[in-house]
Assembly symmetry: C2
Homo-oligomer: 233 residues x 2
Amino acid sequence: MDVSVDCALFGFDGEALKLLLIRQKTAQCGPISEAELQMALPGDFVNDSESLDSAAGRVLHELTGLHDVYLKQFHAFGDPERVKGLKDQQWLRTFREHPENRVMTVAYFGLVSLHDHEPTPSSFAGEAEWTDVDGLPDLAFDHDDIASLALTTLREQLESKHIGFEMLPKKFTLRQLQSLHEIVLDKKLDKRNFRKNVKRMDHVVPLDEKEEGVLHKPAQLFTFDANLTTTDS
Amino acid sequence: MDVSVDCALFGFDGEALKLLLIRQKTAQCGPISEAELQMALPGDFVNDSESLDSAAGRVLHELTGLHDVYLKQFHAFGDPERVKGLKDQQWLRTFREHPENRVMTVAYFGLVSLHDHEPTPSSFAGEAEWTDVDGLPDLAFDHDDIASLALTTLREQLESKHIGFEMLPKKFTLRQLQSLHEIVLDKKLDKRNFRKNVKRMDHVVPLDEKEEGVLHKPAQLFTFDANLTTTDS
DNA sequence: ACAAAAGTGTTGGAGATACACCCATGA
DNA sequence: TCATGGGTGTATCTCCAACACTTTTGT
Protein backbone atom coordinates (compact mmCIF):
# COMPACT_ATOMS: atom_id res chain seq x y z
CA MET A 1 0.00 0.00 0.00
CA ASP A 2 1.22 3.50 -0.74
CA VAL A 3 1.55 5.85 2.19
CA SER A 4 1.37 9.60 2.02
CA VAL A 5 1.15 12.54 4.35
CA ASP A 6 -1.28 15.40 3.84
CA CYS A 7 -0.98 18.73 5.59
CA ALA A 8 -3.76 21.08 6.59
CA LEU A 9 -1.82 24.31 7.08
CA PHE A 10 -3.73 27.04 8.81
CA GLY A 11 -2.80 30.68 8.74
CA PHE A 12 -4.31 33.84 10.17
CA ASP A 13 -4.02 37.18 8.43
CA GLY A 14 -5.72 39.27 11.07
CA GLU A 15 -9.08 38.98 9.39
CA ALA A 16 -9.81 35.38 8.65
CA LEU A 17 -8.56 31.88 9.11
CA LYS A 18 -6.93 30.53 5.98
CA LEU A 19 -6.08 27.08 4.73
CA LEU A 20 -3.33 26.39 2.22
CA LEU A 21 -4.67 24.56 -0.83
CA ILE A 22 -3.06 23.48 -4.05
CA ARG A 23 -4.82 23.58 -7.37
CA GLN A 24 -4.62 20.83 -9.90
CA LYS A 25 -2.15 21.71 -12.64
CA THR A 26 -3.75 22.44 -15.96
CA ALA A 27 -3.40 19.41 -18.16
CA GLN A 28 -1.36 20.49 -21.19
CA CYS A 29 -3.89 19.05 -23.59
CA GLY A 30 -7.65 19.08 -23.30
CA PRO A 31 -10.08 21.91 -22.72
CA ILE A 32 -10.61 21.75 -18.98
CA SER A 33 -12.11 24.90 -17.55
CA GLU A 34 -10.62 26.49 -14.47
CA ALA A 35 -13.74 25.58 -12.57
CA GLU A 36 -13.22 21.93 -13.36
CA LEU A 37 -9.81 21.88 -11.73
CA GLN A 38 -9.90 20.43 -8.31
CA MET A 39 -8.23 21.70 -5.20
CA ALA A 40 -6.66 19.62 -2.49
CA LEU A 41 -4.52 19.73 0.58
CA PRO A 42 -0.79 19.57 -0.08
CA GLY A 43 0.70 16.15 0.44
CA ASP A 44 3.24 13.71 -0.82
CA PHE A 45 4.36 10.13 -0.52
CA VAL A 46 6.51 9.25 2.44
CA ASN A 47 10.04 8.49 1.28
CA ASP A 48 11.72 5.20 2.05
CA SER A 49 13.99 6.45 4.76
CA GLU A 50 12.05 9.27 6.36
CA SER A 51 9.65 9.19 9.26
CA LEU A 52 6.09 10.41 8.97
CA ASP A 53 6.91 13.60 10.83
CA SER A 54 9.87 14.28 8.55
CA ALA A 55 7.72 13.75 5.50
CA ALA A 56 5.16 16.23 6.77
CA GLY A 57 7.91 18.71 7.59
CA ARG A 58 9.33 18.31 4.11
CA VAL A 59 5.99 18.96 2.43
CA LEU A 60 5.54 22.03 4.55
CA HIS A 61 9.01 23.29 3.77
CA GLU A 62 8.60 22.76 0.07
CA LEU A 63 5.41 24.77 0.16
CA THR A 64 6.24 27.63 2.44
CA GLY A 65 9.98 27.69 2.90
CA LEU A 66 9.42 27.47 6.62
CA HIS A 67 11.03 25.18 9.13
CA ASP A 68 10.04 24.52 12.69
CA VAL A 69 6.43 25.48 12.55
CA TYR A 70 3.87 23.78 14.69
CA LEU A 71 2.94 20.56 12.95
CA LYS A 72 1.10 17.67 14.50
CA GLN A 73 -0.26 14.41 13.26
CA PHE A 74 -3.96 14.13 13.98
CA HIS A 75 -5.47 11.21 12.07
CA ALA A 76 -4.79 8.48 9.54
CA PHE A 77 -7.23 8.07 6.66
CA GLY A 78 -7.28 4.69 5.02
CA ASP A 79 -10.54 4.04 3.26
CA PRO A 80 -9.77 1.70 0.36
CA GLU A 81 -11.75 3.95 -1.98
CA ARG A 82 -10.44 7.28 -0.86
CA VAL A 83 -8.65 8.14 -4.11
CA LYS A 84 -10.93 6.20 -6.44
CA GLY A 85 -13.31 8.95 -7.46
CA LEU A 86 -13.53 9.71 -11.18
CA LYS A 87 -12.01 13.17 -10.96
CA ASP A 88 -9.50 11.95 -8.40
CA GLN A 89 -8.24 9.30 -10.79
CA GLN A 90 -8.09 11.78 -13.67
CA TRP A 91 -5.92 14.04 -11.60
CA LEU A 92 -3.69 11.28 -10.31
CA ARG A 93 -3.07 10.00 -13.83
CA THR A 94 -1.42 13.32 -14.67
CA PHE A 95 1.49 12.72 -12.33
CA ARG A 96 1.38 9.32 -10.60
CA GLU A 97 3.00 6.19 -11.87
CA HIS A 98 0.33 3.95 -10.36
CA PRO A 99 -2.71 6.15 -9.85
CA GLU A 100 -4.92 3.14 -9.21
CA ASN A 101 -2.92 2.02 -6.16
CA ARG A 102 -4.54 2.18 -2.82
CA VAL A 103 -3.02 4.94 -0.76
CA MET A 104 -3.52 5.68 2.88
CA THR A 105 -2.56 9.02 4.28
CA VAL A 106 -1.46 10.34 7.62
CA ALA A 107 -2.88 13.80 8.10
CA TYR A 108 -1.12 16.64 9.87
CA PHE A 109 -2.33 20.04 10.80
CA GLY A 110 0.07 22.93 10.99
CA LEU A 111 -0.02 26.55 12.06
CA VAL A 112 1.76 29.26 10.13
CA SER A 113 2.16 32.95 10.70
CA LEU A 114 1.09 34.97 7.70
CA HIS A 115 2.53 38.12 9.24
CA ASP A 116 6.27 37.61 9.66
CA HIS A 117 6.86 35.67 6.48
CA GLU A 118 5.23 36.29 3.21
CA PRO A 119 2.87 33.41 2.62
CA THR A 120 4.29 33.02 -0.84
CA PRO A 121 4.79 29.35 -1.52
CA SER A 122 8.25 28.48 -2.74
CA SER A 123 8.86 25.34 -4.75
CA PHE A 124 5.22 24.80 -5.53
CA ALA A 125 5.00 28.49 -6.42
CA GLY A 126 1.87 29.53 -8.17
CA GLU A 127 -0.13 26.44 -7.61
CA ALA A 128 -0.70 26.96 -3.88
CA GLU A 129 -3.05 29.51 -2.41
CA TRP A 130 -4.36 30.56 0.96
CA THR A 131 -8.12 30.10 1.01
CA ASP A 132 -10.66 31.33 3.48
CA VAL A 133 -11.77 28.54 5.77
CA ASP A 134 -15.30 29.88 5.54
CA GLY A 135 -16.62 28.78 2.21
CA LEU A 136 -13.98 26.28 1.25
CA PRO A 137 -14.55 24.70 -2.15
CA ASP A 138 -15.16 20.99 -2.48
CA LEU A 139 -11.81 19.28 -2.29
CA ALA A 140 -10.47 16.26 -4.12
CA PHE A 141 -10.15 12.77 -2.64
CA ASP A 142 -11.35 12.66 0.98
CA HIS A 143 -9.77 16.02 1.70
CA ASP A 144 -13.08 17.54 2.75
CA ASP A 145 -13.09 15.08 5.63
CA ILE A 146 -9.46 15.72 6.41
CA ALA A 147 -9.87 19.49 6.40
CA SER A 148 -12.96 19.27 8.50
CA LEU A 149 -11.32 17.08 11.13
CA ALA A 150 -8.25 19.30 11.07
CA LEU A 151 -10.41 22.29 11.90
CA THR A 152 -12.14 20.43 14.70
CA THR A 153 -8.78 19.42 16.10
CA LEU A 154 -7.49 22.96 15.88
CA ARG A 155 -10.51 24.22 17.79
CA GLU A 156 -10.08 21.60 20.48
CA GLN A 157 -6.40 22.25 20.95
CA LEU A 158 -6.39 26.02 20.60
CA GLU A 159 -7.13 26.60 24.25
CA SER A 160 -5.91 23.43 25.89
CA LYS A 161 -2.48 23.51 24.27
CA HIS A 162 -2.00 27.26 23.85
CA ILE A 163 -1.02 27.02 20.23
CA GLY A 164 -2.67 30.18 18.96
CA PHE A 165 0.60 32.09 19.07
CA GLU A 166 1.92 29.93 16.26
CA MET A 167 -0.35 31.78 13.86
CA LEU A 168 0.64 35.24 15.03
CA PRO A 169 3.74 37.34 14.36
CA LYS A 170 6.56 37.00 16.89
CA LYS A 171 5.44 40.29 18.40
CA PHE A 172 1.71 40.54 18.70
CA THR A 173 -0.94 42.58 20.46
CA LEU A 174 -3.58 41.20 22.74
CA ARG A 175 -6.20 42.34 20.29
CA GLN A 176 -4.64 40.13 17.61
CA LEU A 177 -4.59 37.19 19.95
CA GLN A 178 -8.19 37.74 20.88
CA SER A 179 -9.43 38.10 17.29
CA LEU A 180 -7.65 34.90 16.43
CA HIS A 181 -9.43 33.07 19.21
CA GLU A 182 -12.75 34.63 18.29
CA ILE A 183 -12.42 33.63 14.67
CA VAL A 184 -11.21 30.10 15.30
CA LEU A 185 -13.76 29.41 18.00
CA ASP A 186 -16.45 31.40 16.20
CA LYS A 187 -17.67 33.23 19.26
CA LYS A 188 -17.25 36.65 20.75
CA LEU A 189 -15.04 36.91 23.82
CA ASP A 190 -15.04 39.49 26.58
CA LYS A 191 -12.00 41.73 26.32
CA ARG A 192 -11.32 42.12 30.03
CA ASN A 193 -11.81 38.48 30.87
CA PHE A 194 -9.68 37.44 27.96
CA ARG A 195 -6.84 39.66 29.09
CA LYS A 196 -7.12 38.40 32.62
CA ASN A 197 -6.65 34.86 31.37
CA VAL A 198 -3.71 35.76 29.19
CA LYS A 199 -1.97 37.51 32.06
CA ARG A 200 -2.08 34.26 33.98
CA MET A 201 -0.17 32.47 31.23
CA ASP A 202 3.46 32.86 32.16
CA HIS A 203 4.60 32.12 28.63
CA VAL A 204 3.05 35.26 27.18
CA VAL A 205 5.52 38.00 28.06
CA PRO A 206 5.06 41.74 27.58
CA LEU A 207 7.72 43.62 25.63
CA ASP A 208 8.96 47.20 26.10
CA GLU A 209 7.59 48.00 22.71
CA LYS A 210 4.43 49.37 21.22
CA GLU A 211 2.60 49.00 18.01
CA GLU A 212 3.51 51.53 15.32
CA GLY A 213 1.77 53.00 12.33
CA VAL A 214 -1.73 52.61 13.65
CA LEU A 215 -4.24 55.40 13.70
CA HIS A 216 -5.23 54.99 17.32
CA LYS A 217 -3.63 54.41 20.67
CA PRO A 218 -0.77 51.99 20.04
CA ALA A 219 -1.03 48.69 21.84
CA GLN A 220 1.66 47.01 23.86
CA LEU A 221 3.39 44.15 22.13
CA PHE A 222 3.74 40.70 23.60
CA THR A 223 5.73 37.68 22.66
CA PHE A 224 5.58 33.99 23.29
CA ASP A 225 8.21 32.33 25.45
CA ALA A 226 8.29 28.59 24.85
CA ASN A 227 10.36 27.84 27.95
CA LEU A 228 7.57 26.52 30.07
CA THR A 229 4.54 25.11 28.36
CA THR A 230 2.30 23.24 30.72
CA THR A 231 0.55 20.95 28.30
CA ASP A 232 2.49 18.82 25.86
CA SER A 233 1.28 15.97 23.72
CA MET B 1 5.32 0.17 2.47
CA ASP B 2 3.44 -2.37 4.56
CA VAL B 3 0.62 -1.06 6.70
CA SER B 4 -0.66 -2.70 9.85
CA VAL B 5 -2.98 -1.91 12.72
CA ASP B 6 -2.07 -2.54 16.34
CA CYS B 7 -4.59 -2.62 19.13
CA ALA B 8 -4.09 -1.68 22.73
CA LEU B 9 -7.06 -3.37 24.35
CA PHE B 10 -7.75 -2.32 27.89
CA GLY B 11 -9.87 -4.23 30.33
CA PHE B 12 -10.86 -3.75 33.95
CA ASP B 13 -11.48 -6.68 36.26
CA GLY B 14 -12.57 -4.68 39.30
CA GLU B 15 -9.08 -4.62 40.71
CA ALA B 16 -6.64 -3.48 38.10
CA LEU B 17 -6.39 -2.15 34.60
CA LYS B 18 -5.28 -4.81 32.14
CA LEU B 19 -3.79 -4.75 28.69
CA LEU B 20 -4.10 -7.62 26.22
CA LEU B 21 -0.69 -8.82 25.03
CA ILE B 22 0.35 -11.64 22.79
CA ARG B 23 3.43 -13.72 23.41
CA GLN B 24 5.82 -14.74 20.69
CA LYS B 25 5.17 -18.33 19.65
CA THR B 26 7.88 -20.74 20.67
CA ALA B 27 10.06 -21.46 17.70
CA GLN B 28 9.77 -25.17 17.00
CA CYS B 29 13.54 -25.60 16.93
CA GLY B 30 16.13 -23.91 19.10
CA PRO B 31 16.43 -23.63 22.85
CA ILE B 32 14.83 -20.26 23.52
CA SER B 33 13.89 -19.77 27.14
CA GLU B 34 10.45 -18.48 28.03
CA ALA B 35 12.01 -15.29 29.30
CA GLU B 36 13.54 -14.62 25.91
CA LEU B 37 10.18 -14.62 24.20
CA GLN B 38 8.92 -11.18 23.54
CA MET B 39 5.49 -9.83 24.07
CA ALA B 40 3.68 -7.36 21.88
CA LEU B 41 0.36 -5.74 21.22
CA PRO B 42 -1.92 -7.69 18.90
CA GLY B 43 -1.91 -6.43 15.35
CA ASP B 44 -2.07 -7.47 11.75
CA PHE B 45 -1.63 -6.20 8.25
CA VAL B 46 -4.49 -4.26 6.75
CA ASN B 47 -6.10 -6.31 4.01
CA ASP B 48 -6.45 -4.99 0.49
CA SER B 49 -10.10 -4.19 0.63
CA GLU B 50 -10.72 -3.28 4.24
CA SER B 51 -10.55 0.09 5.91
CA LEU B 52 -8.28 0.78 8.86
CA ASP B 53 -11.20 0.67 11.26
CA SER B 54 -12.35 -2.66 9.86
CA ALA B 55 -8.89 -4.09 10.18
CA ALA B 56 -8.71 -3.06 13.81
CA GLY B 57 -12.16 -4.50 14.42
CA ARG B 58 -11.12 -7.74 12.80
CA VAL B 59 -8.01 -8.08 14.97
CA LEU B 60 -10.09 -7.40 18.02
CA HIS B 61 -12.70 -9.94 17.01
CA GLU B 62 -10.13 -12.62 16.30
CA LEU B 63 -8.67 -12.09 19.73
CA THR B 64 -11.70 -11.73 21.92
CA GLY B 65 -14.69 -12.88 19.93
CA LEU B 66 -16.25 -9.48 20.57
CA HIS B 67 -17.92 -7.13 18.15
CA ASP B 68 -18.91 -3.55 18.67
CA VAL B 69 -16.59 -2.62 21.45
CA TYR B 70 -15.23 0.86 21.79
CA LEU B 71 -12.27 1.10 19.46
CA LYS B 72 -10.63 4.30 18.33
CA GLN B 73 -7.63 5.16 16.28
CA PHE B 74 -5.24 7.34 18.21
CA HIS B 75 -1.91 7.59 16.39
CA ALA B 76 0.10 6.37 13.42
CA PHE B 77 3.62 5.15 14.04
CA GLY B 78 5.93 5.22 11.08
CA ASP B 79 9.55 5.36 12.12
CA PRO B 80 11.54 3.63 9.37
CA GLU B 81 13.40 1.57 11.98
CA ARG B 82 10.48 0.60 14.12
CA VAL B 83 10.64 -3.14 13.38
CA LYS B 84 14.35 -3.33 12.72
CA GLY B 85 15.58 -4.37 16.18
CA LEU B 86 17.48 -7.65 16.38
CA LYS B 87 14.85 -9.49 18.39
CA ASP B 88 12.10 -7.88 16.35
CA GLN B 89 13.58 -9.25 13.16
CA GLN B 90 14.09 -12.70 14.69
CA TRP B 91 10.44 -12.79 15.61
CA LEU B 92 9.20 -11.49 12.28
CA ARG B 93 11.24 -14.09 10.41
CA THR B 94 9.16 -16.81 12.08
CA PHE B 95 5.99 -15.79 10.29
CA ARG B 96 6.47 -12.95 7.80
CA GLU B 97 7.26 -13.33 4.18
CA HIS B 98 9.27 -10.11 4.04
CA PRO B 99 10.30 -9.37 7.60
CA GLU B 100 12.77 -6.72 6.47
CA ASN B 101 10.04 -4.55 4.87
CA ARG B 102 9.31 -1.23 6.39
CA VAL B 103 5.95 -1.31 8.11
CA MET B 104 3.99 1.56 9.48
CA THR B 105 1.17 0.96 11.89
CA VAL B 106 -2.00 2.71 12.82
CA ALA B 107 -2.62 2.23 16.51
CA TYR B 108 -6.04 1.80 18.09
CA PHE B 109 -7.05 1.63 21.69
CA GLY B 110 -10.05 -0.36 22.72
CA LEU B 111 -12.06 -0.91 25.86
CA VAL B 112 -13.38 -4.30 26.82
CA SER B 113 -15.49 -5.49 29.69
CA LEU B 114 -13.87 -8.38 31.53
CA HIS B 115 -17.06 -8.97 33.50
CA ASP B 116 -19.76 -9.87 31.02
CA HIS B 117 -17.66 -11.93 28.68
CA GLU B 118 -14.90 -14.23 29.62
CA PRO B 119 -11.71 -12.57 28.50
CA THR B 120 -10.62 -15.83 26.91
CA PRO B 121 -9.12 -15.08 23.56
CA SER B 122 -10.60 -17.12 20.76
CA SER B 123 -8.66 -17.76 17.58
CA PHE B 124 -5.34 -16.69 19.09
CA ALA B 125 -6.19 -18.86 22.09
CA GLY B 126 -3.33 -19.51 24.43
CA GLU B 127 -0.98 -16.93 23.12
CA ALA B 128 -2.84 -13.88 24.35
CA GLU B 129 -2.98 -12.81 27.98
CA TRP B 130 -4.35 -9.95 30.02
CA THR B 131 -1.46 -8.25 31.76
CA ASP B 132 -1.50 -5.72 34.54
CA VAL B 133 -0.83 -2.26 33.20
CA ASP B 134 1.32 -1.61 36.24
CA GLY B 135 4.57 -3.37 35.61
CA LEU B 136 4.21 -4.17 31.95
CA PRO B 137 7.16 -6.06 30.51
CA ASP B 138 9.28 -4.56 27.77
CA LEU B 139 7.45 -5.02 24.52
CA ALA B 140 8.70 -5.79 21.03
CA PHE B 141 9.05 -3.24 18.22
CA ASP B 142 7.96 0.23 19.32
CA HIS B 143 5.06 -1.19 21.27
CA ASP B 144 6.27 0.36 24.51
CA ASP B 145 5.68 3.73 22.91
CA ILE B 146 2.33 2.65 21.51
CA ALA B 147 1.12 1.25 24.82
CA SER B 148 2.29 4.29 26.68
CA LEU B 149 0.52 6.70 24.33
CA ALA B 150 -2.57 4.51 24.42
CA LEU B 151 -2.67 4.82 28.18
CA THR B 152 -2.20 8.57 28.02
CA THR B 153 -5.02 8.80 25.51
CA LEU B 154 -7.28 6.64 27.64
CA ARG B 155 -6.64 8.90 30.63
CA GLU B 156 -7.39 12.02 28.63
CA GLN B 157 -10.58 10.68 27.15
CA LEU B 158 -11.94 8.84 30.17
CA GLU B 159 -13.63 11.93 31.54
CA SER B 160 -14.13 14.08 28.49
CA LYS B 161 -15.77 11.36 26.42
CA HIS B 162 -17.40 9.30 29.15
CA ILE B 163 -16.02 6.03 27.90
CA GLY B 164 -15.41 4.35 31.24
CA PHE B 165 -18.63 2.36 30.95
CA GLU B 166 -17.15 0.40 28.11
CA MET B 167 -14.95 -1.45 30.56
CA LEU B 168 -17.75 -2.30 32.98
CA PRO B 169 -20.48 -4.93 32.87
CA LYS B 170 -23.77 -3.79 31.34
CA LYS B 171 -25.16 -3.45 34.84
CA PHE B 172 -22.73 -1.82 37.20
CA THR B 173 -22.64 -0.14 40.58
CA LEU B 174 -21.40 3.34 41.21
CA ARG B 175 -18.63 1.88 43.32
CA GLN B 176 -17.36 -0.06 40.31
CA LEU B 177 -17.46 3.03 38.15
CA GLN B 178 -15.59 5.00 40.75
CA SER B 179 -12.87 2.38 41.27
CA LEU B 180 -12.35 2.27 37.55
CA HIS B 181 -11.83 6.00 37.43
CA GLU B 182 -9.57 5.91 40.44
CA ILE B 183 -7.39 3.21 38.96
CA VAL B 184 -7.15 4.69 35.49
CA LEU B 185 -6.50 8.20 36.72
CA ASP B 186 -4.39 6.96 39.60
CA LYS B 187 -5.95 9.20 42.19
CA LYS B 188 -8.50 8.88 44.95
CA LEU B 189 -11.89 10.45 44.28
CA ASP B 190 -14.47 11.73 46.71
CA LYS B 191 -17.47 9.42 46.81
CA ARG B 192 -20.14 12.08 47.20
CA ASN B 193 -18.74 14.43 44.61
CA PHE B 194 -18.27 11.56 42.20
CA ARG B 195 -21.88 10.49 42.57
CA LYS B 196 -23.07 14.05 42.14
CA ASN B 197 -21.26 14.22 38.84
CA VAL B 198 -22.59 10.90 37.64
CA LYS B 199 -26.14 11.92 38.46
CA ARG B 200 -25.75 14.85 36.11
CA MET B 201 -24.91 12.53 33.23
CA ASP B 202 -28.21 11.71 31.61
CA HIS B 203 -26.81 8.64 29.93
CA VAL B 204 -26.20 6.79 33.18
CA VAL B 205 -29.59 5.43 34.13
CA PRO B 206 -30.53 3.72 37.39
CA LEU B 207 -32.18 0.31 37.19
CA ASP B 208 -34.81 -1.23 39.45
CA GLU B 209 -32.31 -3.82 40.46
CA LYS B 210 -29.79 -4.36 43.19
CA GLU B 211 -26.53 -6.11 43.54
CA GLU B 212 -26.79 -9.70 44.76
CA GLY B 213 -24.53 -12.06 46.61
CA VAL B 214 -22.55 -9.43 48.43
CA LEU B 215 -21.96 -9.50 52.17
CA HIS B 216 -23.03 -5.94 52.80
CA LYS B 217 -25.77 -3.56 51.81
CA PRO B 218 -26.47 -4.25 48.14
CA ALA B 219 -25.91 -1.36 45.80
CA GLN B 220 -28.24 -0.11 43.13
CA LEU B 221 -27.36 -1.10 39.61
CA PHE B 222 -26.97 1.37 36.79
CA THR B 223 -26.63 1.01 33.08
CA PHE B 224 -25.36 3.07 30.23
CA ASP B 225 -27.75 4.49 27.68
CA ALA B 226 -25.96 5.48 24.49
CA ASN B 227 -28.87 7.51 23.12
CA LEU B 228 -27.48 10.92 23.85
CA THR B 229 -23.76 11.30 24.24
CA THR B 230 -22.69 14.90 24.25
CA THR B 231 -19.13 14.48 23.06
CA ASP B 232 -18.34 12.53 19.95
CA SER B 233 -15.13 12.40 17.96
C1' DA C 1 -24.47 -7.44 67.36
C1' DC C 2 -21.24 -6.72 64.12
C1' DA C 3 -18.85 -5.92 59.81
C1' DA C 4 -18.87 -3.78 55.45
C1' DA C 5 -20.05 -0.92 51.97
C1' DA C 6 -24.24 2.10 50.42
C1' DG C 7 -26.13 6.27 50.43
C1' DT C 8 -26.84 11.21 51.37
C1' DG C 9 -26.13 17.63 52.02
C1' DT C 10 -23.85 21.59 53.27
C1' DT C 11 -20.30 24.99 53.32
C1' DG C 12 -16.40 27.78 51.59
C1' DG C 13 -13.38 29.14 47.99
C1' DA C 14 -11.86 29.65 43.29
C1' DG C 15 -12.75 30.64 38.87
C1' DA C 16 -15.93 32.27 35.24
C1' DT C 17 -19.07 35.78 33.62
C1' DA C 18 -21.11 40.18 32.94
C1' DC C 19 -20.51 44.88 32.55
C1' DA C 20 -18.80 50.71 31.31
C1' DC C 21 -15.69 54.19 31.30
C1' DC C 22 -11.35 56.92 30.53
C1' DC C 23 -6.88 57.06 27.76
C1' DA C 24 -3.44 57.70 24.12
C1' DT C 25 -2.58 58.43 19.53
C1' DG C 26 -2.89 60.10 14.49
C1' DA C 27 -5.46 62.57 11.30
C1' DT D 1 -11.40 67.75 18.28
C1' DC D 2 -12.58 63.60 16.76
C1' DA D 3 -12.43 58.84 15.69
C1' DT D 4 -10.43 54.54 16.92
C1' DG D 5 -9.15 50.89 19.50
C1' DG D 6 -6.29 50.34 24.18
C1' DG D 7 -6.56 49.54 28.67
C1' DT D 8 -8.56 48.72 33.35
C1' DG D 9 -11.82 46.67 38.23
C1' DT D 10 -15.80 45.00 40.64
C1' DA D 11 -20.00 42.27 41.79
C1' DT D 12 -22.19 38.04 41.08
C1' DC D 13 -22.74 33.35 40.18
C1' DT D 14 -21.58 28.77 39.22
C1' DC D 15 -18.76 24.94 39.81
C1' DC D 16 -15.58 22.20 42.48
C1' DA D 17 -13.54 20.41 46.85
C1' DA D 18 -13.78 19.12 51.45
C1' DC D 19 -16.01 16.73 54.92
C1' DA D 20 -19.12 12.55 58.60
C1' DC D 21 -22.87 10.10 59.76
C1' DT D 22 -26.90 6.89 59.16
C1' DT D 23 -28.73 2.78 56.56
C1' DT D 24 -29.09 -1.81 54.84
C1' DT D 25 -27.80 -6.22 54.32
C1' DG D 26 -25.42 -10.99 55.50
C1' DT D 27 -23.20 -13.61 58.94
